[in-house]
């Protein structure tokens, strides 16, 4: 009894009793606490502000509170798609519904396929249909603005980029809707064993490089008028003078906004099909006499990812050549498709391969995961024959090695570690990264290749194309488009200027197949110096046929007076001359070839302008000439439709609300707010916990020694 009154530490106990239960419990608790904290730290490692992903100019979302409302105009899109062999003909309905009780003038920035030839526009008001007219852009604007001022319902469709358009709708009455219907033509892509066609539905916010122009000095068209002066979230800069027009606000699904898309596809492949599927959508497919009818399984889909339809013919039915024509007045327009020779792949040559990976803010979320996975796979496929380097860029490029290194075990292991640590943050300054890649070694005896992995979310495409053209020299540029809404115009055109090929990856599960295909192509083109035997008087686009990569056909468009009996195609493969003749006996008569030809011609004129072979004035007059003849939307022409009746007669009352339809944030992407927390507080807590643990153990031990 007395023992209890003696202080414990004074008692000598030769056989101290262990207190395992208490001690262990204490330890377990501590360990659990600590490991949770450490785990939390690791999970949140991405949030480490020192290396945190950051906002770039291309990732802001904005809704102007200067009278531009994002909540009153609702959009419902329906695409009616007819596919006939390679040719895609789309009637694209945009139904704008005014959900407010005031009049509304609306604006919507939307993407279409990069080769889309938009050749018709109508608006529907109730039962009345008003046909749109193609005009020079400035004239179309004037007509539209005048109509809106007069209180007429009107619509104006303009092109900002070959794959980015602006729809303006004037005087939508309270609670009513106006439907704008566009018609565009496109061509499906055929690769080895399958066809595919891509319909973009939203855009990844574009990075706008350059210094903002003073507002006193912006491009006239941006500010000139209250109606057409749509302010995007970006200011016009010296490098992208139309930045406000290509940076619409972005909405997230959780903000309650929705842009539903429905579609019907009528597919007449002309071949027996083995498979039809969509990469990012569930389909409902019905086989009928006249081909297949395809719908979205859910009926509707959110416009937050590209719609990609694929169809594969049975193995024996794969096409090897096709010839199409259209008679327009006195002229014939023709399109030729020929598959390259099926020669075995040439032996892989020694090569220098530079990978560029985009680690800018717009790549945050799933995109950077896909990009890193593709790059890791690419590095693991390199052999001792290859030398490689990796350049990661956001605001500035960061090169892994000073110069390309032999891909041995040590360097590839190092690269894998280096790639794994990459994070998406900052701006998208592509120019310095491309320069850095093009300036790496240039040994003619090795294949020189650059693989560019990016979402292409930039606003200065044209300047980059010029740069690629000027700097690529021996090097070939291959683009890998990443994410749910890549900028396909950038991907295809950059690869064209870099004399390479392009691939898309929209999901981590596709990485393997796509990178394998890319590597097939990296082994070299299968045929060079292609020439196509159109008649002498034919005007042919593309003017110079690019080298052919494996499994991808030549496409050639011509305007001619008479169709020859046969069109010959020749080129050089690694081993021999390649020659083919396509008889015009089985030529298919079809609409739209003229429009495709005109679209290619416009692209050609733009190329000449970019190369400095044509002045900007000449580019403009020539494009307007082609576009007006073929009723095509272009950079310098626009569709405008005006109601004959005056709808809004209350000019004394308030002017209409200005409303914008936001684009949906692409699936897997994040809104990039700056990361404004440090781990300081967390570390403080973990430190305190550790201190407690350490001292606790000491205390327990100490007591235990002195028990």
């Amino acid at each position: 009894m007395i023992k209890k009154r003696i202080p414990r530490d004074l008692i000598f106990d030769p056989y101290p009793k262990r207190k395992p239960a208490v001690f262990r419990r204490f330890l377990v608790l501590l360990l659990v606490g600590l490991s949770t904290a450490i785990a939390a730290l690791h999970v949140k490692a991405e949030g480490d502000p020192e290396n945190a992903p950051v906002v770039d100019a291309g990732a802001l979302t904005a809704v102007s509170n200067n009278g531009l409302r994002a909540d009153v105009l609702h959009l419902n899109t329906h695409a009616d798609i007819k596919i006939n062999g390679l040719l895609v003909d789309v009637t694209y309905h945009q139904r704008f519904k005014n959900r407010s009780d005031e009049w509304v003038n609306g604006v919507y920035t939307f993407p279409l396929p990069e080769n889309a030839a938009v050749n018709d526009m109508t608006i529907r008001i109730g039962e009345r249909i008003i046909k749109g007219e193609i005009k020079e852009r400035a004239d179309a604007r004037k007509i539209f603005e005048k109509a809106v001022k007069e209180g007429r319902r009107a619509a104006l469709t303009e092109q900002q980029r070959p794959n980015l358009f602006t729809q303006r709708i004037g005087n939508i009455p309270p609670g009513e809707e106006i439907e704008v219907t566009l018609r565009f033509l496109d061509i499906a892509r055929f690769q080895r064993d399958h066809f595919s066609w891509r319909l973009p539905t939203t855009l990844t916010p574009r990075f706008v490089p350059g210094t903002p122009l003073q507002l006193a000095d912006p491009p006239v068209e941006v500010v000139n008028s209250q109606l057409s002066g749509f302010a995007g979230w970006a200011l016009a800069t010296d490098e992208v003078d139309d930045a406000p027009l290509i940076t619409p606000p972005i909405a997230t699904a959780s903000s309650g906004h929705s842009n539903p898309l429905s579609l019907t596809v009528s597919l007449q492949a002309g071949l027996e099909l083995a498979r039809i599927d969509a990469l990012y959508h569930q389909l409902d497919i019905r086989k009928e006499d006249q081909g297949h009818h395809i719908y979205l399984k859910e009926g509707q889909s959110e416009m937050d990812r590209d719609f990609v339809l694929q169809w594969s013919p049975v193995a024996s039915a794969s096409p090897t050549a096709a010839l199409f024509q259209q008679q327009l007045g006195n002229e014939k327009y023709a399109m030729l498709m020929v598959m390259p020779p099926q020669h075995p792949q040439p032996q892989a040559l020694p090569r220098d391969i530079i990978f560029i990976i985009d680690t800018s803010g717009s790549m945050q979320g799933q995109s950077i995961v896909q990009a890193k996975a593709s790059l890791q796979l690419a590095v693991s496929k390199l052999t001792l024959n290859d030398r490689f380097n990796v350049i990661a860029f956001n605001d500035r490029p960061l090169s892994m090695f000073a110069s390309p290194q032999i891909a041995d075990e040590a360097t590839t292991r190092m690269a894998k570690g280096w790639i794994a640590a990459l994070q998406a943050e900052g701006g998208t300054q592509m120019a310095p990264a491309l320069s850095a890649a093009f300036m790496q070694s240039d040994e003619p005896e090795r294949l020189q290749q650059v693989v560019f992995i990016t979402d292409g979310a930039v606003g200065n495409e044209s300047a980059l194309f010029s740069q690629i053209k000027a700097q690529a020299k021996q090097k070939r540029l291959f683009t890998v488009g990443i994410g749910s809404a890549p900028n396909s115009y950038f991907m295809t055109k950059a690869a064209e200027y870099g004399r390479g090929a392009f691939e898309y990856i929209g999901d981590v599960s596709e990485v393997n197949q796509r990178m394998n295909r890319l590597f097939d192509r990296l082994n070299g083109s299968v045929a060079k110096n292609i020439s196509i035997g159109w008649p002498q008087d034919a005007e042919v686009f593309p003017a110079n046929v690019p080298d052919l990569y494996r499994d991808e056909p030549v496409l050639s468009f011509a305007r001619l007076s008479n169709m020859p009996n046969a069109v010959s195609v020749s080129g050089e493969t690694a081993s021999q001359e390649w020659r083919r003749s396509v008889s015009s006996e089985h030529v298919t008569n079809t609409n739209g070839i003229g429009a495709h030809w005109a679209r290619k011609k416009i692209a050609h004129i733009e190329d000449l302008g970019r190369n400095g072979e044509l002045s900007e004035d000449n580019v403009k007059t020539q494009i307007i000439d082609v576009a007006l003849t073929h009723r095509l939307l272009s950079r310098f022409t626009a569709f405008v439709a005006v109601d004959t009746q005056i709808a809004r007669n209350d000019s004394a009352l308030r002017p209409p609300l200005r409303a914008v339809v936001p684009n949906m944030l692409a699936q897997g992407q994040q809104l990039a707010y700056p990361r404004t927390a440090t781990r300081a507080q967390l570390m403080l807590w973990i430190g305190a916990l550790c201190l407690l643990a350490g001292l606790g153990i000491l205390l327990v031990q100490w007591r235990h020694r002195h028990d």
Binding site: S64, L215, A231, A677, A680, Q681, L698
Partner: protein, 211 residues
């Protein structure tokens, strides 16, 4: 004599406690490093900003910096004077408030956005009340005065961010809640300041109102 537990044979428990104590030291060190860096860097940045005011040229605060000061922010009511850097990357936010690329710079037309860490430079935003006045100095040395018009909390997973190029407001952005230890929270605290027109301008506005 009191025997220190770690003097003598190393026991597992002793090792464990040594490990925890070392870990504690590292954590405290890291935390101190982050806050220390934030304070010390401001001194260097202040020097660079003064050079910028004098020469009109961008001036890096230290040789290997990849950012430069673009503005001074002065909150007299909070007794805070900060020097803001270009860019809202982690690499500038560690040292000072960052000016968001793509938004207007002080002196330019358009919404200007600055962000900073809630546990360093912008910790004081918690105490900022509507109506308080703050000043921002632009590259030519002139000060523009702003009055806090609004403070709001947004969820970055859902709320669209209001950045109006046609407005002249300033937004100060930081993470919310202020005392959370999460290193990557999904909420932001935004302080909106509207420019106070200079006296002459105000006179003109009043005149217009009277007409």
């Amino acid at each position: 004599m009191i025997k220190l537990p770690f003097a003598g044979k190393a026991t597992p428990a002793g090792l464990l406690s040594a490990f925890f104590l070392a870990a504690a030291l590292l954590c405290f060190g890291d935390s101190l490093w982050i806050s220390g860096k934030a304070v010390v860097a401001q001194v260097l940045i202040k020097g660079a900003w003064e050079d910028t005011l004098e020469t009109g040229a961008e001036q890096k605060p230290w040789a290997w910096a990849d950012t430069w000061p673009v503005a001074a922010i002065h909150f007299p009511s909070q007794n805070e004077k900060l020097y803001a850097l270009a860019g809202s990357h982690g690499s500038s936010l560690a040292f000072g408030p960052g000016h968001l690329d793509g938004t207007a710079l002080p002196g330019e037309q358009g919404t200007k956005v600055f962000s900073a860490h809630r546990d360093t430079h912008f910790r004081f935003l918690e105490h900022v009340a509507i109506g308080e006045v703050f000043n921002i100095q632009q590259k030519d040395g002139r000060w523009q005065h702003y009055r806090v018009a609004d403070t709001r909390i947004v969820d970055i997973d859902s709320a669209p961010w209001v950045i109006d190029p046609a407005s002249n407001e300033v937004q100060l952005v930081t993470c919310y809640p202020f005392n959370s230890m999460a290193p990557n929270p999904t909420k932001r605290y935004i302080v909106v300041g509207l420019p106070i027109p200079p006296a002459s301008e105000r006179g003109r506005q009043l005149a217009r109102l009277r007409m």
